[in-house]
Symmetry: C2
Subunit: 343 residues, 2 copies
DNA sequence: CTGAAAGCGCTTACAG
DNA sequence: CTGAAAGCGCTTACAG
């Protein structure tokens, strides 16, 4: 059976328009239809017009799977995140999406730590053109393996061969924040709240904390207080803090969630935050502006980080083969009242 | 040239394993490989083992595009959202993703109002198996058109032919909230803050507000105050409220953002929220717990709504052809102090 | 239970 | 600028 006949039979049965039905209606070959619609090559004005008209009349939409199979491109990036808790990942996704849309890239949202039926990160290579990993817990070797297969951009972490990465400056800002407590507010018994061993970024904040202490000839009043970053964790942290023999006069928290919960917990126990004890956070979540006292914290340019990641990934997918670079965006220390500053 | 020869040549040049290389290594046909790997048909233990071994050794991952093209299924749903501002969409996505993962469905995140190069909603039919629309502004006819092509589930809105929808109860809760202000706190000059004409859900909240007023034989002290749901909008709302000849004694806000900003604005002008004037919100965002006074508001089961949407869409994609139904999940009124209740 | 082969609907050298 | 045709890498009747 000649091909054309096969095709007409198919077209007749199939509900939707295909490139064949468009070609037939326009009186051109499917190659011309493809060229007109994808803009991949120059086509005559007449052909262009006929194809456009036929496509419109048939409400033709190219089948994505066929397109990808033939072109070997997915026009899609995966963004791997840890969770959507809190404003961090939302902001990141917004920044990412805005830029990706400019490049007509679709966004496949992958929530890590939720392994699908025998699926691994590496499987994404048969699904998307590139991957952004914005999750802290993904094992290095798993990422490295993926990066050998397709372009990978890291957000919020760094140090994996062949990957570009986008991070916000941490150590210096954490030093600045801590120094503010020491120099400006005369705090001497400082304690870090959070687990430096758990995540890259927390480790960096802790480093900055220690640097400021060292510069001032101080030592931490206690080892880092490790609690879950939840309200219950805040309760627990409150207990821990109040149970310390030599009560700290400043708590530098790994993020706003802990700082906020701690603020509530201390307030409930009659401890005046900003006066009896200084508290700082990290991230500048919405609630940081609404608590009393307002939370002193550090603000990462999360949305810009997302946009930058999209930019970098797009470039890599486009074929740029430069070795992975690290892009550091500036963090801003936001002084409110929980450090002791006046409202 | 015989097919097998063509194939071996390809396999030789191609970097990645294909179903052909796996078949060759396992000593079976590609059909058997497909059957073993997809689990679509029973295969002998021997064949199964050989295929699994070969696939493992070659680190074979089926090409998604080829799979979709041949099977006519994408194993992917699109979730169309308006923005990622605030916790609403994040929660929704989390709930959605959790359930979708159980069904091994991928999630394509589409931010509406960001039309890609000549792309419309209807184009999604050539990209995914089904669509969840969780955006208020998408025109009804555009959605209806899409729903004629592929399964569509609505979240937060309803009333489109052939679509299932998931909403949270609004009118009754809004009535309850308003009645609380009237009956419990003796408020008489109530004003709604927000634009009922802008969105379905806000309209429903306004309906509940009016019902409570009518039940009490009252009228709104003023028409709805329409301001942007931002902090600037809160400033503006503050001005509007204070400028009213007969100052309201209660403000029922369309959402927490406005209520929060308004609380800050009023406080800044020396008005005691909860005493001089009652303020309520809607959504129960994180900051609602942290402001002083704590914000009285209503909490939607957003995560559950997302999960339910995933469930419904999966069922529809699976072929269930029942007429679109409406699923209403319960909303909870959360009493804090901004209504006048004691902390 | 298995294989040969057609078909899914595009893109893209290749030749003209 | 255009067309014929091969190829992308799978799934799935069909026959055995």
């Amino acid at each position: 059976m000649p091909r054309s006949q096969i095709r007409s039979r198919r077209t007749a049965t199939s509900g939707r328009a295909t490139i064949y039905s468009v070609a037939e209606r326009a009186g051109v070959s499917i190659a011309t239809v493809s060229r007109v619609l994808s803009g991949a090559a120059v086509t005559s004005p007449e052909a262009t017009e006929k194809v456009l008209k036929a496509a419109r009349e048939l409400a033709y939409v190219p089948q994505n799977s066929a397109k990808s199979l033939a072109s070997r491109r997915y026009q899609t990036h995966a963004v791997v995140i840890g969770s959507l808790e809190g404003p961090y990942y939302s902001e990141l996704l917004m920044g990412y999406e805005e830029v990706a849309a400019r490049y007509d890239q679709e966004l496949l949202l992958v929530v890590a730590d939720r392994p699908r039926r025998n699926r691994t990160l590496a499987d994404l290579r048969a699904r998307v053109d590139g991957v952004v990993i914005a999750q802290m817990d993904t094992p290095v070797d798993e990422i490295a393996a993926l990066a050998r297969l397709i372009p990978v951009v890291l957000v919020g972490r760094t140090g994996i061969d062949g990957c570009d990465s986008v991070v916000s400056e941490s150590v210096r800002s954490a030093t600045e924040l801590t120094r503010h407590l020491i120099d400006r507010h005369g705090r001497r018994r400082l304690v870090f709240v959070g687990d430096p061993a758990q995540a890259f970024d927390v480790a960096a904040r802790h480093d900055g904390f220690r640097t400021a202490l060292a510069d001032a000839g101080l030592e931490a009043a206690h080892e880092p207080l490790v609690v879950p970053y939840t309200e219950r964790g805040g309760e627990r942290a409150t207990d821990l803090v109040l149970a310390l023999a030599d009560r700290p006069d400043a708590l530098v928290c790994a993020n706003d969630e802990v700082a906020l919960a701690l603020t509530l917990g201390l307030r409930g126990r009659g401890v005046r935050v900003g006066i009896d004890i200084a508290v700082t956070g990290w991230d500048d979540v919405t609630a940081a502006r609404y608590v009393s006292p307002g939370l002193t914290t550090a603000s990462q340019p999360v949305r810009e980080m997302g946009g930058r990641a999209a930019e970098l990934l797009h470039r890599r997918v486009g074929g740029q083969q430069d070795p992975g670079g690290q892009h550091v965006l500036p963090t801003e220390v936001v002084i409110r009242q929980s450090c002791g500053c006046a409202g």
